[in-house]
């Protein structure tokens, strides 16, 4: 392979593990996660920052990993869907999505759960409208969102006690 483009060394912490990588400047964050780190739970659904299938947490905030270069994540802490569970125990958001039938094909689900994570870490009692706004950048083509709303409400309830 030609080495015409200089690779750049970056350090990121992904799901609690420090990683050092050399990436092409044009590599997207989502490509880094999926291709370089084999974290295939983060998906791609569009090319235009619309669908949120690629949503991950960067320093605790939801970002669309298809709209960032990997080099921009240098020094950051990234959480992907694979990093949600603890010791094999589902995160309350994951559990709520299952309990409320908040998924069908499951392609959008990782992104939706991370957007929900962003919301619930900032607002423990979100109204229905808050939830709708928080996931406005996440497209789901299967569920019609109704059970997704229920799932996030359920997660909020369950996390309040925690």
């Amino acid at each position: 392979m030609p080495d015409t483009i200089q690779s750049v060394a970056i350090k990121v912490n992904v799901n609690g593990k420090p990683r050092s990588l050399k990436v092409e400047p044009r590599m997207l964050l989502v490509e880094m996660l999926r291709e370089a780190l084999d974290l295939t739970g983060t998906h791609v659904g569009c090319d235009t920052t619309y669908c949120g299938a690629c949503t991950v947490l960067m320093n605790g905030a939801a970002v669309k990993s298809c709209t960032m270069f990997a080099v921009q994540a240098d020094g950051a802490e990234i959480t992907t869907v694979e990093g949600l569970e603890r010791d094999g125990q589902l995160h309350p958001i994951q559990k709520a999505f299952g309990d409320a039938y908040g998924l069908q094909c499951g392609y959008c689900t990782p992104g939706l759960m991370l957007s929900a994570h962003h919301l619930l870490s900032r607002n423990q009692q979100p109204s229905e409208k808050d939830i709708r706004k928080a996931i406005a950048g996440n497209t789901c083509r299967c569920t019609g969102y109704q059970n997704v709303l229920k799932a996030i409400q359920l997660a909020a309830q369950n996390m309040k006690g925690a």
Partner: protein, 819 residues
């Protein structure tokens, strides 16, 4: 079936889905998640023109780029393959459809070349180096214009008319002669949209040179159909093509027609010496060149009604636009007639059905395929007549619905509607939405000059096709009936393992199949392993296997049930031998060591491992009369169909008829013209429910698709065939902020045609499109507007209301009153 099979425990329960465990953890296996050694990445070069001659094509610069392994052109493919099979008859059967353009492009986004490289990024760079020179031709973007044949897409056919047939039943002339009213509707139009699954198409192909076999990992949703096209095209025996699917991120029918891309990936792999080739579609590729739903124009509609507003006859001309290549078409030219009269009782009708090619993306069987267009048309007819005659829309429906006591109901074209109760659904929907209260509010709103409307949409979701209907479009086709396979076995250590021929995309087949088997064997569904995805080498598929056309609950689960019954019979034989009792003394259930068989009287028992061991590892202990017992039971379920009468276009075309009835309250903002949904109800009837949570989820999902299509999602082309909505940001799939809360109601009229009483229901019949059109018309009728198009957004409503450019009742609708 199964007299002792009344131990129903699991079917009917909202069991948590087995699929969740991997999907929630980000451990699903979608096609793009698969990596292989030596993998190459393929990128297509696509036409910027809708209609053009290719003057030259040069791939040399691309091939010279380091990291590029090969390039492939349409002309090169044409030399080594057969054109794809055409489903339709002459003259359209003459057209030559290759997976990439050979000498002429026919829609924007059509592939003309492909490059395969060591990385996706290199493939991207290389694709940009391919030089193509075009000479543009007159594009034909409108189907009615296409029928003038001034500019031909396919010279070999000599016409743009793909198919034409008249569907006539009853005595249409007499009904019009006797009519009290005749309503004439000049034009109605159903727009082009796509359910756009969130996961794009993905293909990995490997053409193994050692044994001349092709291996596919992909997300095609009807592989048994795809391999028939691929085998003939690639000159390869069908048994040498293996297709595997795993988790699929939605299809809604759109992923049925990915076989052209599958062909190119295989040919690229062959050219690359057998290295596997992966293609991951981008969203823009998906929007311009995977598949769209069928667009349809309804011309010169005449409706005969009696003095009470009962429709007695409909005559109309329907022009379907299938885009540049027919591919799955012209099947849509008959599939709509599964629901010929919709939910209505009229007996006389003549529909002249025509399909045309245009310079747009080819169509595919999009959720609600071909029936939703027709059902929307019928609902428009009913509402327009109701408004013109001053009959309330609910009353109009009650006068025209098929009556509950008439089921099973034979339609004028010989379809048998298995069961239903439309008036009851209407009643429930009205109660759920608070009909009277909204009517009162509407009067108030109108006094204030607000544009508020209430609309009803009644629809059908016909499921489990009789493939014999394909003979109505082409009498030469060798297809009829419908079948589905399943395998149920007791594995070596006594595990219960089920394999089905479907390839689910979120419908929860693993869960519902486990529920069915659990009930047959009287065990917990967690003890049933259901194989994920589809695999041609599992030998459970038939020619019609896949996931499409609302059928798994009927065909798939009937096959699973049949296989489980077969297994149960064998287990019983074996158990009777092992426990030295008669077969009818055997009971199935759970014991201390897991699932077991017990003798009713003496309490002796044998667990599943013991049974499986007898056949698999302790066979000397078996008596010869049990040698036929394999504990590996394949069952093919066949739908009870006959071949339809091709000349008369008469016969039963589908097995089950689920129905949905929706009501919407919509208001159009006086200033912004933005239509807003104020309240929404969906009531469904899909017979006996296997898993209520899954059914409810399907209803919400189909409702979102319908609301999106009605108000936001439209595949727009300009006059020269440029697609203007080629990204999600332009196409704007519906989001959580646009979705109203859907109030859900439900009735069950069990189908007499499936083993459990269930009906297929995955498509939903696009009820929201009918319903929102109806509500908008109710809101705007007093302003002289008739809703003429299935797509209505602020822009189109502004053009109708202020610009008076479209949808004007006085030009669109004429009523002859003879009483």
């Amino acid at each position: 079936m199964g007299s002792e099979d009344h131990n129903k425990n699991w079917v009917g329960k909202p069991l948590p889905r087995k699929e969740e465990n991997r999907l929630l953890r980000g451990r699903g296996k979608f096609a793009d998640d698969i990596k292989l050694r030596d993998l190459l990445y393929l990128r297509f070069v696509r036409s910027p023109y809708a209609h053009a001659k290719m003057v030259s094509l040069d791939t040399s610069a691309a091939e010279a780029l380091p990291g590029v392994v090969c390039a492939l052109t349409g002309a090169e493919i044409a030399l080594q393959t057969q054109p794809f099979i055409e489903i339709g008859p002459e003259p359209f059967a003459k057209i030559k459809d290759y997976p990439m353009a050979v000498s002429k492009v026919r829609y924007q986004g059509e592939p003309v070349a492909a490059v395969a490289a060591e990385s996706a990024a290199i493939a991207d760079d290389a694709a940009e180096l391919v030089q193509v020179e075009y000479e543009s031709l007159d594009p034909v973007v409108d189907a009615e214009q296409a029928l003038e044949d001034k500019s031909l897409l396919h010279d070999e056919a000599g016409t743009n008319r793909v198919w034409n047939g008249v569907f006539e039943y009853g005595d249409v002339e007499k009904a019009f002669k006797d009519a009290a009213y005749v309503v004439n509707i000049d034009r109605l139009h159903f727009h082009r949209f796509s359910s756009t699954p969130l996961e794009n198409n993905v293909v990995i192909a490997e053409w193994d040179p050692k044994d001349e076999r092709i291996y596919y990992s992909c997300n095609n949703s009807f592989p048994s159909f795809a391999i028939q096209f691929l085998a003939a095209h690639l000159n390869v025996h069908i048994d040498r093509i293996r297709v595997e699917t795993s988790d699929i991120g939605g299809s809604f029918g759109i992923k049925i027609t990915s076989y052209p891309q599958m062909a190119v990936c295989a040919l690229a792999s062959k050219k690359a010496g057998g290295r596997p080739v992966k293609w991951v579609e981008t969203r823009s590729e998906h929007m311009t060149s995977s598949a769209h739903g069928n667009e349809r124009t309804f011309r010169d509609t005449q409706v005969a009604l009696d003095k009470d507003g009962v429709i007695t006859a409909i005559a109309s001309r329907h022009i379907d636009d299938c885009g540049a290549y027919p591919r799955y078409e012209p099947l849509g030219c008959v599939i709509w007639s599964q629901v010929f009269p919709g939910v209505y009782r009229f007996k006389n009708a003549r529909i002249d059905f025509i399909q045309a090619v245009t310079n747009k993306c080819p169509v595919g069987p999009n959720r609600g395929y071909s029936r939703m267009q027709h059902l929307w048309f019928l609902e428009r007819v009913v509402d327009i007549c109701a408004h013109e005659l001053g009959i309330p829309s609910d009353e109009m429906r009650l006068r025209n619905y098929i009556r509950t006591e008439e089921f099973p109901y034979t339609t004028p074209n010989g379809c048998v509607y298995d069961s239903g109760n439309y008036p009851k659904m209407l009643d429930i929907a009205k109660r759920l939405i608070g009909w009277d209260e909204w009517k009162r509010k509407q009067i108030e709103a109108r006094k204030q000059g607000r544009l508020m409307g209430i609309g009803i949409g009644t629809t059908l979701d016909s499921g489990t096709n009789n493939f014999g209907q394909s003979q109505i479009v082409n009498p030469g086709l060798p297809y009829s009936g419908n079948s589905q396979g399943a395998n149920c076995k007791l594995d070596i250590y006594g595990e219960v393992v089920v394999a089905v021929g479907s390839c689910p995309q979120g419908q929860g087949h693993e869960t519902t199949a486990a529920q069915v088997v659990a009930d047959v064997l009287n065990i917990h569904p967690d003890l049933v392993t259901v194989r994920t995805g589809f695999d041609t080498e599992r030998n459970v598929h038939t020619g019609f296997s896949g996931t499409y056309a609302s059928q798994f609950a009927v065909s798939g689960l009937s096959a699973v049930h049949g296989a489980a019954q077969k297994l149960k019979t064998e287990m019983k034989q074996l158990g009777a031998f092992a426990l030295r009792v008669k077969e009818d003394e055997i009971e199935f259930g759970m014991g201390a060591q897991g699932p077991e068989l017990r003798a009713k009287n003496n309490g002796k028992c044998i667990n599943y491992w013991g049974l499986a061991n007898l056949v698999n590892a302790n066979s000397a202990a078996l008596p010869p009369e049990l040698y036929d017992v394999t504990l590996n039971c394949r069952y093919i379920w066949r739908a009870p169909f006959k071949v339809p009468d091709k000349q008369k276009k008469y016969g039963n075309l589908t097995l089950t008829y689920a129905s949905q009835l929706h009501i919407a309250v919509v208001e159009v903002d006086r200033e912004t013209f933005i239509p807003r949904i104020l309240d929404y109800v969906a009531v469904d009837d899909c017979g006996t429910v296997i898993n209520p949570a899954i059914v409810e989820g399907q209803v919400y999902g189909a409702t979102a698709h319908g609301i999106g299509a009605a108000l936001m999602e439209n595949c727009v082309y300009d006059a020269v065939g440029n697609m203007l909505t080629s990204t999600f940001s332009d196409y704007t799939p519906i989001t959580a902020v646009n979705m109203p809360i859907v109030k859900y109601g439900h009735i069950e009229t069990p189908s007499p045609h499936s083993y459990s009483g269930a009906k297929g229901m995955g498509e939903g019949g696009a009820a929201p499109i009918h319903t929102i059109s109806a509500a908008l018309q109710d809101a705007l009728f007093d302003n002289g507007i008739v809703i003429e198009d299935s797509f209505n957004n602020a822009d189109s409503l502004f053009r109708a209301l202020v610009g008076k450019e479209t949808s004007q009742a006085e030009t669109l609708v004429k009523v002859e009153r003879r009483v």
